[in-house]
Homo-oligomer: 321 residues x 2
Amino acid sequence: MADFPKSIVIKEEGPREGFQIEPGPIPAGRKIELIDALSETGVRHMQIVSFVNPKRVPGMADAEEVVRGFAPKPGVEYTGLWLNEKGLERARATGKLTLEGKISLYPSEQFLLRNNNRTLAQQVEYVHRALDEYKQQGIPVRRGSISNAFGCNFEGDIPVPRVVAMVGEMYDIAGEHGLDITELTLADTMAWATPLHIKRMIGAIRGKYPEIRINLHLHDTRGMGIANAYAGLELGVVLFDACVGGLGGCPFAGHKGAAGNVCTEDLVFLCDELGIETGIDLEKMIGCARLAEDIVGHPLPGSVMKGGSLERLREASRRAR
Amino acid sequence: MADFPKSIVIKEEGPREGFQIEPGPIPAGRKIELIDALSETGVRHMQIVSFVNPKRVPGMADAEEVVRGFAPKPGVEYTGLWLNEKGLERARATGKLTLEGKISLYPSEQFLLRNNNRTLAQQVEYVHRALDEYKQQGIPVRRGSISNAFGCNFEGDIPVPRVVAMVGEMYDIAGEHGLDITELTLADTMAWATPLHIKRMIGAIRGKYPEIRINLHLHDTRGMGIANAYAGLELGVVLFDACVGGLGGCPFAGHKGAAGNVCTEDLVFLCDELGIETGIDLEKMIGCARLAEDIVGHPLPGSVMKGGSLERLREASRRAR
């Protein structure tokens, strides 16, 4: 009935997604507190800051301070996000983050103009420059990323063939630089996807590029996040971005209702119930969600942090017998 | 890939589910306002009150007043919930509700004791008495209902075979009364289900009773509601209970984090995107969700009421071209 993976990797993006959009200001110390708590959950990858224009994203003005302050846990990879050379330089200068390049393409130019201040042609130029830079600095590049792969608030529906063609374009660019791309992030930046759309998209991409490992980055603005993640699980997807408590949202989605990524602990709960390993301790992640809620000072959308896990209820019911 | 239905029927339960659990008090006039607004959305079935002990469920003490006050719209069926003879008599006395009997069984005696104050044996006795009463009063009975079909906070996991056996028991009871049961409500009262569980349960029941129409009643306490509904859609389920804005929760689930049913407008959104007809106007339903939020005086968990539909964005992007 489904091609579930035995285990998946969840990349925690709560600190980056969340603190970029919260009205704040949130003290760096509290951001560090959350990162350090997340390090104890069993999560192996965490994106903790973005190095972007502090005038445009004031919540990330303290990125360097946050990176300086957190206590790296062995075995956990900490990354930051950047959109240009200056951002990369800032990330590199911290000396504390895992640097990974990626080929970022955007089927929606309208979003690209708002998010990155570039046209499509300028983005391709930037990617070429960035790949040269990564090579010089010895920064590995294994991943492509397509934002707004399922639809865009400014451009409307994004047809599946346009995304498949863009994957081809990504491979062409990689080829010119002698790179082997093995991972593709499909980002539903503005929450246009349904589970059917996820299945069709992955099917179409795999039809042409059967070897690529899909990474789903799913925003939950319309409540489809978990259903979309489940559709990915059914197709054997093993890489998911997620945000503790459902933190986050994109400041350039043109949308005040923009919500964060699919909620980490809800996804962990689902995987636990399906017998899919995540390596993450659900109760500890729920604790982090509550901490995140305390830090941002308003309720977060996560469900399992309120509803609780079933394991505790199972244990209690066993004891009651 | 999926056996989607062309159209589904959504039974709106927001007024009943919601107002039974809100701390309130909420004036009857405001409850009526929501019911009347929901009548204009295209919804065809609505459960608006429950006739239960006002000491145990104070929010429903005004059930008669609410029923007296709302303006029935032709073509819409309005129902109430009852759990015993007295409740039925109250529902009947309103003269304004569609009365439908059902055979309600409970795989979890611990829940039954709390919710209905009966043992399993007492529940079966009650069902027999109720069926006699329905016959005398000419009240049709077409539906069976199994609460906590997927798990129980007090008893733990409910095995699929136990539920299948209970469906058999339901048919036996129906047979003794010469009834033809065509619909089966599977209620995930305490939100234990995953999409895989939904598929296994429906598969097992249909394997033995292929003709029965499944009605899913899905609580969203752990954020799985829409994913579970989607699993039902993939299997061609055409009957869903849902609550506007995600109103509600069960007061006897032993759980302060208990959440309402899957959110109506989120489900309508999903169906719209899949091309499955619901007969419900999404924008009007979103308006009702906002009204419901105003009435209860706190944020409701629905997503599309915040994120908005995609049709408006599609239109805007077409105009911008």
